[in-house]
Subunit: 225 residues, 6 copies
Amino acid sequence: MQENIVVQTIKRADPEVIAGLARCGVATVHEAQGRRGLLADYMRPIQQDVSVAGSAVTISGAAGDNWMMHVAIEQCQAGDIMVFAPTSPSNFGFFGDLLATSAQARGVAGLIIEGGVRDTRILREMNFPVWSKHIFAQGTIKETLGSVNVPLVCADELIHPGDIIVADDDGVVVVRREEAEEVLAEALAREAREEEKRVRMANGELGLDIYNMRPRLKEKGLKYV
Amino acid sequence: MQENIVVQTIKRADPEVIAGLARCGVATVHEAQGRRGLLADYMRPIQQDVSVAGSAVTISGAAGDNWMMHVAIEQCQAGDIMVFAPTSPSNFGFFGDLLATSAQARGVAGLIIEGGVRDTRILREMNFPVWSKHIFAQGTIKETLGSVNVPLVCADELIHPGDIIVADDDGVVVVRREEAEEVLAEALAREAREEEKRVRMANGELGLDIYNMRPRLKEKGLKYV
Amino acid sequence: MQENIVVQTIKRADPEVIAGLARCGVATVHEAQGRRGLLADYMRPIQQDVSVAGSAVTISGAAGDNWMMHVAIEQCQAGDIMVFAPTSPSNFGFFGDLLATSAQARGVAGLIIEGGVRDTRILREMNFPVWSKHIFAQGTIKETLGSVNVPLVCADELIHPGDIIVADDDGVVVVRREEAEEVLAEALAREAREEEKRVRMANGELGLDIYNMRPRLKEKGLKYV
Amino acid sequence: MQENIVVQTIKRADPEVIAGLARCGVATVHEAQGRRGLLADYMRPIQQDVSVAGSAVTISGAAGDNWMMHVAIEQCQAGDIMVFAPTSPSNFGFFGDLLATSAQARGVAGLIIEGGVRDTRILREMNFPVWSKHIFAQGTIKETLGSVNVPLVCADELIHPGDIIVADDDGVVVVRREEAEEVLAEALAREAREEEKRVRMANGELGLDIYNMRPRLKEKGLKYV
Amino acid sequence: MQENIVVQTIKRADPEVIAGLARCGVATVHEAQGRRGLLADYMRPIQQDVSVAGSAVTISGAAGDNWMMHVAIEQCQAGDIMVFAPTSPSNFGFFGDLLATSAQARGVAGLIIEGGVRDTRILREMNFPVWSKHIFAQGTIKETLGSVNVPLVCADELIHPGDIIVADDDGVVVVRREEAEEVLAEALAREAREEEKRVRMANGELGLDIYNMRPRLKEKGLKYV
Amino acid sequence: MQENIVVQTIKRADPEVIAGLARCGVATVHEAQGRRGLLADYMRPIQQDVSVAGSAVTISGAAGDNWMMHVAIEQCQAGDIMVFAPTSPSNFGFFGDLLATSAQARGVAGLIIEGGVRDTRILREMNFPVWSKHIFAQGTIKETLGSVNVPLVCADELIHPGDIIVADDDGVVVVRREEAEEVLAEALAREAREEEKRVRMANGELGLDIYNMRPRLKEKGLKYV
């Protein structure tokens, strides 16, 4: 009733747009696209102070089975981000240093995994960034087929192959490929607006005044005592 | 039935006492005041190896609404610590780099938030320390009034404005303002006692002997086999 | 009906074997012994990029009571790892800088604790590695007897005194003392096999080909579209 | 960048097919469609021993805001099941006895909500079945638009309007509308096969023999001692 | 530095007011007092379809120690509700059938406990209602003093002795004693307003029309397609 | 390195002793054996007001694989309780109505499973009691060998085949087979002692007086104000 497929051709966004989104970071991109697209907050980085963006190569596999990881790496291009979601919850270590070596050799920019990862120290030494739900050394098997480059749900969000993944210390956000340029433009505009406010705030001006909040606070009935 | 108020004048403890508590750290202060005042263990720092203390400026706001943060910053003085608790649970990112810039401009020493925080990498770069329940980029609104400098419950503990907050890698503890001096004195005494024991232990003496535990262990029936 | 005992003599594995296991790390050792022995994934290090191995000195104590820690330190030899499990769940801070000083003076290599730990910053500064379920400053008492060097369950795994504990950023694994040599041999063999694959993968060869996965994928029905 | 819409016309499956799926129950339907479609296990019924199925009317709303519930009820027909997912996590009580009265007046068969529900005792008395992530009396607001009858992610699964929801004491499963007939046929066939086995098992025959497992167990190396 | 005290005289609200609040239930009372006072959603009843209200006799005790329960029962009058919060988290079974027998003999109406309870089947048979965070048979000790009838934090809410506790299947809410009458009046008014709406909804009228939501939905931009 | 075995002969305790322990219930048995042996509090019954005891037939299987269940049933005798623990965490539905039918045909008295169960409504209708960590319909496979009647860790406790399992609404406790008679004797004695106290308490006498607590409370410094 269901077929396991590998979609070999996906559309990717413009690399410059992707790079721009990486520079903006998760919180800004999330705001810029109307506060949509955030993956669940249990997706945490295994490293600190790293920000990446890339085109999603999506991987759906069985709980405790990482076979499709190998299949997926062949479909990756430089700059892609692998996005793995098991079909049922699993904290197993689906990904470790060997797979990372292989992925990095193809230029994969990182991994988003709603499951476990292992060899985390080596992954950090390799500068291969990972956002995962679990860290666990438990080994996986290679028995059950899954699919590559199909739409899937990862950490509460629907992700299509070729969507742009942005990930940093605040978590992970997905941007629809077709909206990427527009989101970037809005994100940059937002950054510009924020920069001006940051300068004023750094000089001691208050948000109360910058955003002209006092009248509305008064109107709603806030009392200073 | 309830009013939303901003209390503009709060009493603060002596800055030297506060500085002393910061140097003692959470575990020692907690012991010194009779093992009271620890916030729940889900309050974790976003940075490592930072210890601060300051006077609590308390902020009560609605879930997913950070309006009162702006109101609160105006009430802060150099060395204060903002303490935010939503009126119902929320993992939203109530605080980010802009608010941190504003807070830091007024000399705010840190943030304790039973909710989410974002822009964590920038906050670390700014050396603005935060202890939070969540890290999440989800944006908040500015719709609902709350109160500033009222007593509130944050992470299982009742906190009054002007109470001293001590926070480090072990978590967060609150000290009543009126007890601060006494607690500091006891904490320093405790440190002195501990230092002497530390030297003996470093030289290989056992706690069993330093604390004279052997007779009581024997009396209670511990058997060496 | 139950006795509280301290077993003073336990067998330990060959130090060279233990050192070898530390070098192999948790994920490899776990694989080498047939994917057994992993402690639950909530056991997390308080430090980063540290890998240790040692002989387990096991400690069973009451919730919120760290008395047996003192008793256990006397039973430790250089290179041992203390393994503490409370008889019922407790997030209290059973272990801090004083106990660490004492343990380190005897050459203890680290602590595994299904409970809380405190003074984490100082422990890191001392290079005393800890894997714990909780970080919490809450103080403990010294009222109830427990046992030292008895078999116990820690984080889902049965651990005997003298078993080898291997711990790193991926978590904690236990190796039966009698199997340690065999496990090390298999771990080293596995490392050698992996090293060869790592080189091929780093050169861009795919796991699909290195492991000859394509025929089986086809046979199971995977479709490339 | 995003529009809030209410899709007023959706396709629904044949009521007889839906009724058939309700009779089969979650576990059987899940098996019959290749072990897909199960919502996360935190979706629990507020009542016991109730099994329902219906066409999904999907509702996407903001955290802590139940405005779209009112909008959605107008779109419901007899036998429909409301499926609500907030755009960010929220334990608020989005649904209570008033909304249930309104929904029941239109013949709504139940509610699936990745959030909180309240007035649970009255809902049980009304025989209005609910599967929720939370039970919490916290009131919601009506401020932010959402959408009705758009595809959404609820408890890890993608749900389209008109998909069939089956829910019972084991949880919740979604069946694609286009596959409903086929899934029902397979579920009924499975039930028939199981019934025959149930009789044999009730008579004391073992699964080991019914499924002829002994040779494969032996081949894999299981030892009886 | 801290004293352990038993306050023997507390003020209680009018029994008729308390009975009225019990009839209104948690969700209505919570709304009536401006959506304040809800205890955390992990406080769950061990029985179904029971609604109670009573004056809080507050009990602060150590983790794993139920000594103060015995002290507190002496302070209880008919209709009181015991409210226990440990000074640090504990899932131990602080309360069982013997204490319930004693409490019931004094007319205690129920127990709210941010900890564990045991003998739950017997408690149900006795019709002694309990809302707890945990169910766990683990036995407690009687070693450490606490206090009775002092203000305390239970499940995120500050509770004063004599405050009114309302508890039902939706959870637990606290009402300040001084506000009880006013809250009841508002709750009854709210019930009356809701009853009228319930009738209209039962007759098929929509909330969209009853609350005149359509213009505002249109103004905010909701599109029907 | 590890063998998968089925131990066909285990010792069981006297059926009368087992029946006696069932009547005493979990809390009393736990107390009677010195507060040992409680399984973790996440082991919850799928039914209410049921108390059972039986000899443990232990089953160790892989995550998401219930093959060994079939193997184990053949080893069961009337009155046994199946105890299943996966070698790594898994919420899959390892057990449903078919296996229950088979188990019940052999007289199995219940199931303890540190994993998921399904068909819970039917299991209740069959009066086949289950205590589980999860309820989840997710189907399992039959691919990997495990072992039957070996010592294993289930929900934090070490369980040997033939140990007595006692389970009721308060959770699950394990009694060592060799200690069963002694534990029962102590449990019955305890019940007798408690019965006398229950009568006194029901008549309004306080625990403060029955246990003569007042002098010790005074000595420790409790103040009545």
